[in-house]
């Protein structure tokens, strides 16, 4: 009897608190391969929620984080998303890192009409009604970096090196077309794909060096993922290739990846992101200070963290504007939301669920930080690339057209669900 009383009291208590609380789901891997990157994002979210609660919460209620661990297991991401939405009944989810995990969550979140903020740079060609993409689309990272190569460094011959999976393949497909449109001959584009964790780079580096034999300036665009980068840069250095001779611009190498690495081989090579820790802005300084206070002085900040920072604050502002955390109301309030990003300037949420953000290009320094040598104005994120004929005709506009895959030639909505 006592037990029964206790349990009913517990239920009443939990029901009572549920009314006075807003739940924020955090769907990042805390174990497995992706843990090292995603744990940082979980910590970022907890810090942001704590800061918001210190400011008085949202709509007069307290924000409560609900953390689950999908364990770098892609199908488990879908299970955990379902758990967040049906068991914990969260109002919003911040989560995912790899594209494959996002694809796994999409059907669940669309079926249950959830709301997901996805913070990592990705290959584009997607627009879901229930996802806000706060990371970079290809036109916010790959294309500006290529322009920088063409215009500033005068690169005439390109080596597109990538790990063999969906992000590099899609990005390189877009880049190849873009380079051809920019007047680079097909013979001057060298493409190579290597397996995850590849370590035997001597032949590939020799091939890249040999590209310069007709007197043209060679540049490498690297979508090489993770550990494989180390062997690649080591081999470049061993071959005596400096960043002045053959620059390498990487899309997957950031502060977190460089932390604790020997960066002597990498100095002068480039990376393109929407955020660097070294950005000189007041908002950034206070963000870094708060992060180091919570996590320790040796920790660094990176691009996906900024994406969560913007996404979370936009969601808070949208919910405040809508006066509710109801998904449909918040979504409507999201469009046109503006929030100052950490590098100076303002991020704007577009009707295609992508952000307008500046593109930064940084040179790697000895201390693992980046020297920002180029910063563009805000570039609106493009869900469907303009450089592939099959997606150039597609457009995403959830506000006016109510469609994420709208064919502008036939003026029809191709499909609403993003199960492609």
């Amino acid at each position: 009897m006592k037990k029964l009383l206790l349990s009913s009291a517990l239920i009443a208590a939990s029901a009572g608190t549920a009314m006075a609380e807003i739940k924020v789901g955090i769907l990042h891997s805390l174990s497995g391969t992706m843990a090292i990157s995603e744990t940082t994002l979980k910590d970022t979210m907890l810090m942001l929620i704590e800061q918001q609660n210190a400011k008085g919460g949202l709509l007069g209620e307290k924000l409560v984080p609900v953390v689950v661990d999908p364990a770098s297991d892609w199908p488990l991401f879908a299970e955990k998303a379902r758990e967040l939405l049906t068991v914990h009944e969260v109002d919003v989810i911040f989560g995912n890192w790899t594209s494959v995990s996002r694809k796994s969550v999409l059907p669940v979140i669309e079926e249950l009409n959830g709301l997901l903020f996805y913070p990592v740079q990705y290959e584009g060609e997607e627009s879901s009604k229930n996802v806000f993409y706060t990371g970079a689309a290809p036109n916010q990272q790959a294309i500006p970096a290529t322009d920088y190569y063409l215009e500033e460094l005068g690169v005439e011959k390109f080596a597109l090196l990538g790990t063999d999976y969906v992000y590099p393949r899609t990005t390189n497909k877009i880049l190849e077309q873009y380079l051809k449109d920019s007047g680079i001959a097909a013979d001057d584009i060298f493409v190579n794909y290597t397996p995850f964790g590849h370590s035997d780079w001597s032949k590939i580096v020799a091939d890249v060096v040999a590209l310069g034999e007709d007197g043209k300036k060679v540049g490498v665009i690297s979508t090489i993922n993770g550990d494989a980068n180390i062997g690649f840069y080591k081999e470049l250095a061993a071959a005596g290739v400096s960043a002045d001779d053959i620059p390498v611009v990487a899309f997957s190498v950031g502060e977190e990846e460089l932390a604790g690495l020997d960066t002597t081989n990498l100095v002068g090579h480039l990376a393109a992101w929407n955020y660097f820790q070294s950005a000189d802005a007041e908002a950034n300084t206070s963000f870094i200070d708060a992060w180091k206070d919570t996590m320790g002085a040796e920790r660094v900040t990176n691009d996906p963290m900024e994406a969560h920072y913007i996404g979370f604050n936009m969601w808070v502002n949208a919910a405040t504007a809508a006066g509710t955390t109801d998904v449909d109301a918040v979504r409507d309030a999201m469009y046109g939301q503006e929030f100052p990003n950490l590098t100076g300037g303002t991020a704007v949420m577009l009707p295609n669920h992508h952000l307008a953000k500046p593109v930064l290009i940084g040179e790697i320094q000895e201390d693992g930080q980046f020297d920002i040598i180029s910063q563009t104005a805000e570039v609106p994120g493009d869900a469907w690339t303009d450089f592939l004929p099959e997606s150039a005709v597609l457009k995403s506009d959830w506000k006016e057209l109510g469609c994420g895959m709208f064919n502008t030639e036939t003026n029809t909505c191709v499909q609403l669900k993003s199960n492609y």
Partner: protein, 646 residues
């Protein structure tokens, strides 16, 4: 004297004709802050025109990222700082102190590497005459990266005056490179080109190849004094029929063939009373009718006529095409094409040697990874799926040692025996606790060791995280052994090769010349008989397994040095290792060597055929090996008779 006059000239001319440095910098301030190659050329020219030392200093500072600007006023200054908090701002023109400001009030100007190259190129003349050798070297480097005709004379002056033999060599080479590109004298250029005919460097080819760039022209349009390469037949790789036809059209020798869409739009534009040029609109679904209608329109002058029956190949057949060098001097192009022929023959040979060296290197890496397995699997017949994790443990041991001992040479020398000790102990422990109970039950051994391998990987992830850890090679292993410009191999790979050779000899010695080796062979061939002879099979099995594991640990240090240290490091090598042992022939160290050699060379060979997809190369290799195993199930070197064990 002349120089003095020149300086005097500048001195007097400066206040009258040119603006001061401050004025110019102020005028260009926004573009200097933005720092783009597109806008920099006039700025650099303006500043150089000032001609003062301060102007050169300004450009040098700009290139070295040593210019800052005051956020409030936008004034550009150079800075001095002691503590990186307060900065003394120095006027760019007078060199006097402007003011002192905190870091947050000023911002560094960071030119990109393209702009730095431009600045370096602009500063070449001054640098070449510098009394310091490093600066002169930097000058030549900048000059080679961005050669200009104006560099030729200062370079020749500097070359004449250079005392340092090594630097003189570099300058001499740069001088010949510039001569080829910019000298007016044909004889000098030809001589310089010929001097490169033994040079295999990418730069040499990069200088010579552009001399042979040519364009294809219609024979009738080639000017008389043109430097002709030779006739080109359409339909070849150099000139497709389409390109040839485009040339004809451009020369107005042919009318373009209308596309289907063009035909359709012209037809649509000429619809009269449901007919087009007399053909009924209803018949227009037929392609032939459409063309007939179009040709009728063409006859009436409403469209451009064409011959629907002629193919492009026919249309271009009556015309001659000629390739013409952009370079006008025939002597130069002849010399360049001769020199390149010689170079390319040597480069081709060198590439082959380089590929072979890569193959040897890969083979030695596979051999090193597999040699431990050659003992545990090859000799003892234990399928140890955790072998890769022993490699990983060795690599992490190296990493930990480097955390404690910062001297890279000492730490590596210490890491090798330590890695052996750690993995030897791990191997012995695994043999005692698991494998001993599973001898002659291969399936259970496989499953048990596979489980252990997953557990070991996760433990490594928990301790060291999933991010790759660095294992840095000592300085004397940096860089490459350069045989010529094409054939080079990094010292680490050579070290791995030497290490694997040492282990080959060591193992051969242990197995064939020591008591342990004799006992091991006895136990593996017939444990009962061996036991009757007074050998303790348990002890021998334990030691042999420990030895194989220990060698895997040392391989881990070597592999970590050349690639990276992660928890998945071992898993990357386990398949290759088994493949090496099986292909080579189980139970024989020589077999493992043969297997590693074959797989290494095969992989490189396939990569050479298919450079764009390394993953595919590995797939093809595995397919080849599957086929190979069908024909030689016992591997390259098969044991015969009683030694085969069955």
């Amino acid at each position: 004297m002349y120089r003095l006059l020149l300086v005097l000239c500048f001195f007097f001319a400066h206040p009258i004709f040119a603006q001061s440095l401050t004025e110019i910098v102020e005028k260009h301030q926004p573009n200097i802050l933005k720092g783009s190659v597109k806008t920099a050329a006039p700025i650099i020219a303006d500043i150089q025109a000032v001609g003062t030392e301060a102007a050169t200093e300004f450009l040098t500072n700009w290139q070295d990222k040593a210019l800052w600007f005051i956020k409030e006023t936008g004034q550009i200054v150079s800075v001095v700082t002691d503590d990186k908090k307060t900065y003394q701002l120095i006027d760019i023109e007078t060199g006097t102190l402007v003011t002192e400001l905190a870091k947050k009030d000023i911002k560094q100007i960071k030119p990109n590497s393209g702009l730095r190259k431009m600045l370096g190129s602009a500063l070449v003349t001054g640098k070449l005459l510098s009394p310091q050798k490093e600066i002169r070297l930097a000058g030549v480097d900048a000059l080679i990266r961005d050669p200009k005709a104006s560099h030729l004379d200062p370079l020749r002056v500097a070359l004449e005056a250079e005392a340092d033999i090594e630097l003189k060599g570099i300058m001499d080479r740069a001088e010949r490179q510039l001569t080829i590109q910019f000298d007016d004298l044909e004889v000098a250029r030809v001589a310089a080109i010929e001097s490169f005919s033994n040079d295999l460097s990418v730069e040499a080819r990069g200088t010579l190849n552009p001399l042979l760039s040519n364009k294809i022209m219609l024979a009738d349009l080639v000017p008389e004094d043109a430097n002709i390469k030779g006739p080109i037949t359409p339909g070849s790789e150099a000139l497709t029929y389409e390109d040839a036809f485009d040339l004809l059209v451009a020369a107005e020798k042919a009318t373009p063939v209308p596309t289907n869409a063009e035909i359709a739009s012209i037809l649509e534009a000429n619809i009269e009373n449901d007919t087009i040029a007399g053909f009924a609109l209803a018949d227009m679904s037929d392609a032939d009718t459409r063309i007939k209608a179009y040709l009728a329109l063409a006859d009436a002058g409403k469209a451009l006529a064409f011959d629907p029956n002629a193919t492009i190949a026919d249309l271009v057949a009556d015309h001659e095409f000629i390739a013409v060098y952009v370079e006008t001097s025939k002597a130069v192009t002849d010399a360049a094409s001769n020199a390149l022929d010689q170079i390319n023959a040597k480069v081709g040979f060198s590439r082959f040697i380089d590929l072979a060296l890569d193959g040897v290197s890969l083979a030695s890496i596979y051999f090193l990874a597999a040699i431990g397995l050659a003992i545990t699997f090859g000799v003892m017949r234990v399928i140890n799926m955790a072998h890769g994790e022993f490699i990983m443990m060795g690599a992490y041991t190296g990493f930990v040692v480097q955390q404690i001992i910062p001297n890279y040479t000492v730490s590596i020398i210490l890491a090798v025996p330590l890695a052996f000790a750690v993995t030897f102990a791990a191997g012995v422990a695994m043999e005692r606790l698991v494998i001993r109970h599973l001898y002659h039950r291969p399936l259970e051994t496989l499953l048990a060791t596979f489980g252990i391998s997953i557990a070991l990987q996760q433990i490594a992830k928990n301790i060291f995280g999933t991010q790759a850890r660095p294992l840095t090679a000592p300085g004397w292993l940096d860089g490459s052994l350069v045989i010529n410009e094409v054939i080079q191999i990094s010292w680490i790979r050579i070290a791995i090769f030497v290490l694997s050779l040492l282990f080959l000899l060591l193992l051969l010695f242990i197995l064939n010349k020591t008591r342990l080796g004799l006992e091991t062979r006895a136990v593996t061939q017939n444990p009962r008989m061996a036991a009757s002879m007074g050998i303790n099979p348990d002890r021998i099995n334990m030691l042999t397994f420990g030895l194989g594991s220990g060698i895997a640990g040392i391989a881990g240090v070597a592999i970590g040095l050349y690639a990276k240290v992660t928890s998945e490091l071992g898993a990357d090598y386990i398949v290759q290792s088994f493949m090496t042992v099986v292909v080579g022939g189980v139970g024989n160290i020589w077999g493992t060597l043969a297997g590693a050699t074959m797989i290494g060379f095969l992989q490189k060979g396939i990569e050479w055929f298919n450079p764009s997809n390394t993953l595919a190369a590995q797939t093809y290799m595995i397919i080849f090996i599957i086929i190979f195993i069908q024909f030689r199930p016992r591997g390259i070197i098969a044991l015969k008779g009683r030694a085969a064990g069955d």
